[in-house]
């Protein structure tokens, strides 16, 4: 099964109706680099046990730019 066939199946499974062959080709082409990038995310062992919940730690250094001249 080639990439186009895979994506056609996934599009159908998602219930989307991409009837224009040029548009389908563009979608397939756009997915290839994204899939390659996703594969790289799995290659980094540092990410394996990383927390998947985003946290925003407040530690602002409130420099007063204007007072500093």
């Amino acid at each position: 099964m080639n990439e186009t066939e895979k994506i056609e199946i996934l599009i159908e499974a998602a219930g989307l109706q991409v009837t224009d062959p040029d548009e389908l080709a563009a979608i397939v082409a756009a997915h290839a680099p994204l899939r390659a990038g996703i594969a790289k995310l799995y290659e980094d062992p540092a990410l394996r046990y990383e927390d998947h919940g985003l946290k925003f730690e407040a530690d602002p250094d409130l420099t007063d730019w204007r007072a500093a001249g």
Binding site: L16, I38, L54, R66
Partner: protein, 221 residues
């Protein structure tokens, strides 16, 4: 105030030729205002572009899926093409993208122990002309939007979208065609004050933000 300057990832080959000299002048203006400028490189930049796209297309399909199924033709071609990518991303991919985001957040926090703000261009090209949105002249725009990878490479905001730090975009000059270019200033989490102060200092030394687009000049007259 120490300002990190990111050049490594923000000048793609298809960037406007005026982008680099305009950005260099903007950095020089910050130095003249008293900032200490150091070169920096944002950690995990490429991973964040991927993680950002995985997150966007997954969340977009979750939100717009019903409408995409029922009203595919009502979406702009580039919009539906990008949202459809959500159908090819797995739950595991989404979780791994969030892990990458968290890792980048922590490494970025380390970088912010050395700088107070980080500046870069906001977009690699000037604003798209208003005329390009006219139906009679839309073919070129549509062609640009069809090539999603080329298009997205011009937008330089996804890194900050992905790590979630505050970022401010302000005018920094113009392309040769007279379209505005922008500088973005990224700060620490919850430290909006510093980036607003940097933006204010820049705009106190420049008048790019006060220029009136030709379109509005026509309207005003």
């Amino acid at each position: 105030v120490t300002i990190g300057v990111e050049r490594a990832h923000f000048f793609p080959p298809n960037a406007d030729p005026e982008l680099r000299p305009v950005f260099d002048a903007a950095v020089a203006a910050l130095e003249e205002r008293g900032a200490t400028v150091v070169e920096v490189e944002l950690p995990r930049y490429e991973e964040m572009l991927v993680a950002n796209m995985v997150t966007i297309v997954s969340e977009a399909l979750a939100y717009h899926g019903n409408d995409l199924r029922e009203r595919w033709g009502d979406f702009f071609a580039a919009t539906r093409a990008s949202f459809a990518q959500g159908a090819f991303v797995t739950g595991a991919d989404y979780v791994q993208a969030q892990r990458a985001r968290r890792r980048a957040q922590r490494e970025l926090a380390d970088l912010y122990t050395r700088v107070d703000a980080i500046v870069s261009p906001t977009c690699a090209t000037g604003a798209i002309p208003y005329d390009a949105f006219n139906p009679e002249q839309a073919s070129e725009l549509d062609e640009l939007f069809q090539d999603l990878n080329s298009l997205f490479s011009l937008f330089l905001t996804p890194y900050w979208d992905c790590v979630g730090n505050p970022a401010l975009a302000i005018p920094m000059g113009f392309t040769e065609a007279g379209m505005p270019l922008s500088m973005q200033i990224g700060g620490r989490p919850f430290d909006e004050q510093t980036i607003l102060d940097v933006g204010h200092a820049f705009q106190s030394a420049t008048d790019w933000h006060a220029r009136i687009p030709a379109l509005l000049q026509k309207v005003a007259s």
